[in-house]
């Protein structure tokens, strides 16, 4: 088995996993022709596609691990995180982390020279202009494999869950109680198959995003997941709120994509390629983006010139790239790199619903709950974090700081709103935003592994909680308001306790002291959040100006615990608040609770071992070079980024802080909503203004309405006005001018030319008239005239003749 087989096997497995859902989509969307609305055939097909995809992904992961001799786990026993295998803890090995490979450089130097840890290749070329080339590339490293396995697994479970959840669409006459038409409630045919077609299309897009080997392709699938999200949020197209939410989601994502596009433009113009990895074609090697920017050690070569700081581009050996014509080293202005990083990150902000583009995600809860679980918590919204991680080498320290602050603000802001939200899905939505903020923060403060670690663990426990909320909504007949619930754990125990697993996981609660097999008793969230908080603390110590980056997440951890337990107590504990709802509530069928149980296992154990566990190691394997070591700022007052060793030193302290705060939050929730010693309504009245502010989501919707929506409509009206009055006005004025000229021409013709002729006629006539006076009709006068005339003529004649004679 040679290298080529290794590469093509991996590529084929993942490509199969990627394309199967697309085939599924094409068949399912036409299910109206080959099936009927009461058939589950489309759903089974969709499940088959994605489950096969999961098998392929898992095979690929195992194959990759086996071929690379489990180098990613550095000699630990075989096994991988997702299976929840017991894992012998090993001491954290700083030296190993240091040797972790630069994501794009492949694994040339490490222990497994035969089979690189990262492979890349091309399916086919999309466009090529000279040296500029964009192709359908793939790039496979441990991050890709982990994401693939996670996405296909969660998607499979959610597909299964949806078979039950969407059951009321299995009819020819579905009544939508939320839509009122002129004839009462809306009746329409069920759209079961269409839902699964959209889910399949989404799975295809999401997997494509992860598999993409260049950033342009990421953008392509970025848009595609966006449009799938649009379809799925607007699945109930008849509901106005759903349509609006779908539009809002897509357009706000496009705002982010505007930044993304600017980033792409800069990269395209200054680097001339979009590829992550280098490409060898006809014996000529074209370096990828990351190789150009960073040396194999992960450093950038700065150059101070008169026109400002520039960065020298290098080839994969760290030697400067030369311009083919001038033989000068190729450089890029540093500021442009910052701009490109900001641009790409703007796309991530949109996709991951970070501040200031966070407002679309809560509205996106209009979609069916499996959609919220799959698209809006586990996968698509995490794509922003994924891209931030994937694109990490491109981010300059300033950009990283911006990422950290955006994440920090987001996590706090969303957590505060979640405290007052009463819709069960909206609480989870804000929680998602908040957790995504944690991931961004982690990436921003240099904890690359921790951020992506949290991405995976969060995907499990958040999709679990969403599915649980789906089961609750299903069981309560589409009641989503928590004030109408309560005590439901007696009616739906499986849902309640799997949910509790998720809640504990997200809060990061753990029992640190008695250890089992050398492990703390803790669910996945504890490990990942702990890692982020530790990194934030270290970062704040290194850069004392940015202490907020530690304090807010710490407070956020407390708030998280509070609102998550609030949700659980509100829903499942105590006495029922609405008897009617409680009476009719029931546990979900097996097709729905089995995925819950499976997910709860993963939510609990996927991060087993914490930062020495297999999952984290697997991820860390793709960590860009130079991250592990950290970076001391060269300039005093500049931004220093902590390395792994520094973070590890703070780990215990940060973990204790976070645990105490989370415990406090959970306890407070217990006091308010569990045993109800304190009445939340009183607190609400005490802080009515604050409550109102939070209920109105910090008034961002109003702000954006005033800042963007209305001005855009006003400008749009202006444009039409300009068209109608200015351009058409000019045109009409020109037309009128032409008509006027024609009219003047007519006047000239009629007045001057005709007038002259008429004048002559008139004059003649008038002369005639004037002679009338002497025509008296008197004969005698006439005779007199004759006589006088004859005499005058005679005399005149004589005089004339004589004059003539004389002359």
């Amino acid at each position: 088995m040679d290298l080529e087989t290794y590469q093509s096997t991996l590529a084929r497995l993942l490509t199969t996993a990627w394309l199967l859902p697309l085939c599924g989509f094409v068949i399912e969307i036409f299910a109206g022709w080959w099936s009927n609305r009461r058939s589950k055939a489309a759903a089974y097909l969709a499940v088959f596609c994605i489950a096969t995809g999961f098998v392929c992904s898992l095979t690929a992961l195992l194959y990759w691990g086996e071929k690379t001799e489990w180098a990613a786990f550095a000699g630990h026993a075989a096994g991988h995180g997702e299976a929840g295998a017991e894992h012998a803890a090993g001491a954290h090995d700083g030296a190993h982390a240091n040797a972790a490979h630069h994501a794009a450089a492949g694994a040339a130097a490490h222990a497994t020279p035969a089979y690189p840890l990262a492979v890349s290749g091309t399916h086919y070329v999309l466009v090529q202009f000279g040296r500029l080339r964009v192709a359908i590339d793939y790039y496979i490293d441990s991050l890709t494999l982990a994401m693939f396995t996670m996405v296909t697994l969660i998607a499979s479970l959610i597909h299964v869950f949806a078979i039950g959840y969407m059951g009321d669409e299995l009819t020819d006459d579905h009544e939508d109680h939320e839509v009122h038409t002129s004839h009462g409630h809306l009746h329409r045919p069920g759209r079961y198959y269409r839902f699964f077609a959209y889910l399949s299309l989404f799975s295809f897009s999401m997997l494509g995003l992860v598999l993409a080997g260049n950033v342009f392709l990421v953008f392509v699938f970025w848009e595609l997941v966006g449009i799938c999200s649009y379809f799925l949020i607007g699945f109930y197209t008849e509901r106005r709120s759903a349509c609006l939410a779908a539009n809002k989601a897509f357009i706000m994502n496009r705002v982010g994509d505007f930044g993304f596009l600017i980033g792409l433009m800069i990269l395209w113009t200054w680097f001339g390629t979009f590829q992550f990895a280098e490409r060898t074609e006809d014996g000529q090697t074209t370096p990828g983006l990351f190789q150009m920017l960073r040396t194999p050690e992960g450093e950038i070569l700065r150059l101070n010139t008169q026109s400002g700081q520039r960065v020298v581009l290098v080839d994969s050996h760290g030697d400067p790239l030369l311009d083919p014509t001038t033989r000068e080293p190729k450089t890029v202005p540093y500021l442009l790199l910052v701009a490109a990083g900001m641009g790409i990150f703007a796309g991530c902000i949109g996709k991951s619903a970070q501040f200031p583009l966070q407002t679309w995600l809560p509205d996106a809860m209009e979609g069916p709950t499996p959609v919220s679980a799959l698209v809006h918590s586990a996968t698509m919204v995490a794509a922003g974090v994924y891209l931030t991680g994937r694109f990490y080498p491109m981010f300059m320290p300033e950009v990283l700081l911006a990422i950290a602050y955006v994440g920090c603000i987001t996590l706090f802001l969303a957590a505060t709103i979640a405290v007052v939200a009463t819709d069960i899905k909206r609480v989870l939505a804000y929680s998602t935003i908040s957790q995504l903020g944690y991931m961004m923060l982690g990436l921003g403060v240099g904890a690359w592994g921790a951020g992506l670690f949290h991405l995976i663990t969060h995907a499990f426990f958040k999709s679990l909680m969403f599915l649980c909320s789906g089961a609750v909504i299903y069981g309560c007949h589409h009641v989503q308001e928590m004030p109408r619930m309560g005590g439901l754990r007696r009616k739906m125990p499986i849902t309640a306790y799997t949910m509790l697993v998720g809640v504990i996981a997200i809060c990061g609660l753990a029992i640190p002291w008695p250890t089992v097999f050398g492990e703390k008793i803790a669910f996945s969230g504890y490990h990942s959040k702990d890692a982020i908080v530790a990194a934030a603390l270290t970062f704040a110590q290194l850069n004392p100006k940015h202490i907020l980056l530690f304090l807010l997440p710490l407070v956020g951890a407390g708030i998280t615990a509070f609102y998550m337990f609030r949700l659980w107590f509100y829903t499942f504990a105590g006495t029922p608040r609405d008897e009617h709802v409680y009476e009719h509530a029931h546990e979900a069928p097996a097709v729905m609770w089995i995925p819950l149980v499976v997910l709860s296992l993963f939510a609990a154990f996927c991060a087993v071992g914490g930062e020495e566990g297999p999952l984290f190691k697997l991820l860390l394997n793709s960590e860009p070079a130079g991250v592990a070591a950290g970076r001391e700022s060269a300039v005093p007052g500049g931004i220093s980024i902590p390395g792994h060793a520094a973070v590890a030193a703070n780990h215990v302290a940060a973990g204790v802080d976070a645990l105490i705060v989370a415990g406090l939050g959970a306890f407070l929730a217990y006091v308010f909503y569990g045993v109800r010693w304190l009445n939340p309504a009183e607190v609400k009245n005490q802080f009515a203004g604050l409550h109102r502010f939070l209920i109105e989501k910090w008034r961002f919707d109003e702000l954006y309405d005033v800042m963007f929506t209305r001005p855009v409509h006003i400008i749009a009206r202006w444009c039409t006005w300009i068209d109608r009055t200015v351009f058409d006005g000019l045109l009409h004025a020109a037309a009128r001018l032409a008509l006027d000229v024609a009219r003047w021409d007519r006047k000239f013709d009629e007045g001057v030319v005709d007038g002259l002729v008429n004048k002559v006629g008139d004059l003649t006539f008038a002369t005639g008239r004037s002679f009338r006076v002497i025509q008296t009709g008197r004969l005698r006068q006439y005779v007199m005239f004759i006589v006088v005339g004859v005499i005058v003529i005679g005399v005149a004649g004589i005089l004339f003749v004589t004059q003539l004679r004389a002359g």
Binding site: I29, G32, Y124, V125, L126, V127, Q128, F129, G130, R131, L132, V179, H180, T181, S182, L186, R188, F219, V220, F221, E223, L224, I227, Y230, G234, T237, E238, R239, R240, C243, L244, A246, N247, F250, I251, R254, V255, D257, F258, L261, I262, L264, M265, I266, W268, T269, G272, V712, H713, I715, A716, R717, W718, C719, T720, D723, F727, D728, L731
Partner: protein
């Protein structure tokens, strides 16, 4: 079939069909429609044959046809295809075929309609295939007149206004083109010519002893550009478009948006750019700026419309802005020498612009068709009186949403590639304008999604004629599916079109760069040609035959 016959047949088969329609009984409407459909389908097949004979690896003009036409003035019947014209010829015959399928909705005076329609097709194909400027001009005008009547007779309530507006705008453009045509003719040295290839060589300074001066190039370019910009349409010259589109019957709107607008872009690439490299470079910033303004302005204006068709018409203004943007991103490293900076980005811009023309041809024709389908049923286009069509006509709704998303520039559909690459190529030229043009993606999403929401989504249909809403018939569905299929093919495999045009566009970039350099090098000598453009010669027709060799030169289509 020889190449000679093939190209001529492509152009004149519709005319023959129009003559054939005369033989039908005036009451045999169905037969006439089917006959015209067969003619357009046959034309499409012929263009496919043309595609089969075309060699994409060759940059220059292929399959040339040359015959004397008016030897006294050295006017020739000169046809040929290259990578720029071939895709557009294919697009024209395809859209004509689909438009004919959509013509069943036209009810009155069928024979006249079909005859004019076929003549229009002849005019359009002629424009794309002609390589003699005079012939080009003739076809340009030939296409204008049927269009005028098609809008003016078969249009909506304000058809006269729209038809006259369209006619006058286009005519104004033609006049400017005519002036430029004469400038070139009388400036082309002793053996005067209308041959576009020869003129391009002269303009690029590749013919010893004769060259258009910078002044001539700039003036002619501005004249030509305004003439073509009206057709594109570019921002200040666009107001004929919404009116013409709104009033025109559905198939004519499809042709207008799908093909006629492309003539503007084609004219710039075929005539204005190659002949006047200096003019093109001189006006490049203005062109890019106008492109960006069109993108944003069209999108904003589309957002404010309440008439469905008018919205789609403004979206055309916006989308065609990307064409101009992509064409004109020609950056010089050194204005004095004329070295092109980042020629590959310019090349990608031109390719993207060409692709955008094709993509827009598919998507906008589709959008107009979709508007037409619903208009035929409910007889209104008020966006605020639609809603719920997705439930009433699921197949139509699905197709329409697909095609509207192609217009939105969704990856995987045709609109994306052209838009994104013209925007990407713009940064090299001007970061500011590139950023502004990128902002178009937000606005486009805004107005298209809003329109989709108001028309297709929502609980129920709110307008009149609720009872007339019936599912699409097979003919309508087939048009929709074909358009959507092409949108997907172009979006997923853009190489299918890039492959045809790549070499030609590359050559264009090289020629233009050289042309500019030559012009700069020869600058002092150039004045020798200018006196030839003196008034006495220009306006004295007797001088033409007196010119040595003019009449006898027709056979000497020099060296190609």
């Amino acid at each position: 079939m020889s190449d000679n016959a093939l190209l001529s047949l492509i152009i004149f088969l519709p005319t023959i069909g129009a003559l054939g329609l005369m033989c039908f009984n005036a009451k045999a409407e169905e037969a006439m429609r089917n006959f015209a459909l067969v003619i357009t389908a046959a034309t499409f097949v012929l263009t496919l044959l043309l595609l089969g004979r075309f060699d994409p690896a060759q940059a220059g003009v292929q399959l040339k046809v040359l015959a004397e036409w008016i030897p006294n003035w050295n006017v020739n019947y000169f046809l040929g295809v290259d990578g720029i014209s071939l895709p557009l010829v294919l697009l024209t015959s395809l859209i004509s075929l689909l438009g004919m399928l959509a013509s069943w909705s036209v009810k009155k005076q069928i024979r006249g309609y079909l005859i004019l329609y076929l003549l229009l097709e002849t005019g359009m194909l002629g424009v794309f295939l002609a390589l003699d400027f005079f012939l080009f001009y003739v076809f340009w005008e030939v296409m204008l007149l049927p269009m005028y009547f098609l809008i003016g007779i078969w249009g909506g309530p304000r058809r006269e206004y729209a038809a006259i507006k369209f006619f006058l705008y286009t005519l104004a453009g033609s006049v400017l083109m005519l002036i430029a045509l004469l400038m070139f003719y009388f400036g082309s040295g002793a053996d005067r010519t209308f041959d576009l290839i020869r003129l391009a060589e002269i303009g690029q300074g590749r013919v010893p002893g004769v060259q258009f001066s910078e002044f001539v190039q700039i003036t002619a370019f501005i004249l030509l550009f305004i003439g073509f910009a009206i057709k594109v349409p570019v921002f200040p010259f666009h107001t004929w478009l919404p009116d013409a589109h709104v009033e025109a019957p559905t198939p004519i709107s499809m042709i207008l948006a799908g093909v006629l607008l492309k003539m503007g872009g084609y004219g710039i690439l075929r005539v204005a750019f190659p002949i006047c490299p200096v003019g093109a470079q001189y006006a490049a910033y203005c062109l890019v700026l106008l492109g960006v303004i069109s993108i944003l302005y069209g999108a904003f204006a589309a957002m404010a419309q309440t008439d469905f068709k008018r919205l789609v018409a403004y979206s055309s203004v916006s989308h065609m802005g990307y064409v101009l943007l992509g064409i004109a991103v020609w950056k010089l490293a050194d204005p004095n020498l004329g070295t092109t900076a980042g020629a590959e980005y310019w090349e990608s811009g031109i390719n993207a612009a060409m692709f955008q023309m094709l993509a827009h041809g598919i998507s906008s024709a589709g959008m107009f068709f979709m508007v037409g389908v619903i208009y035929d049923r409910v007889h209104h286009r008020d966006l605020n009186q639609f809603g719920g069509l997705m439930g009433l006509m699921p197949e139509y709704g699905g197709l329409a949403v697909g095609i509207f998303f192609a217009g939105l520039g969704l990856p995987g559909l045709c609109g994306f590639i052209g838009e994104v690459f013209s925007v990407l190529s713009a940064w090299n030229y001007s970061p500011l304008l590139a950023i502004l043009s990128a902002a178009g993606v937000i606005l486009t999403a805004g107005y298209i999604l809003w329109a989709v929401q108001r028309v297709y989504l929502g609980p129920e249909y709110k307008g009149p004629h609720r009872e007339d809403i019936t599912p699409m018939n097979g003919r309508e569905a087939s048009v929709g599916y074909v358009l959507l299929a092409f949108a997907i093919i172009l979006g997923v495999y853009p190489e299918s079109m890039f492959g045809l045009m790549r070499e030609t566009n590359k050559q264009l970039v090289v020629n233009m760069t050289e042309g500019y350099e030559n012009s700069k090098k020869n600058a002092p000598k150039v004045s020798a040609v200018t006196p030839d453009l003196g008034e006495g010669v220009l306006f004295d027709p007797i001088a033409i035959p007196a010119n040595p060799g003019a009449g006898a030169l027709a056979p000497a289509i020099r060296g190609r």
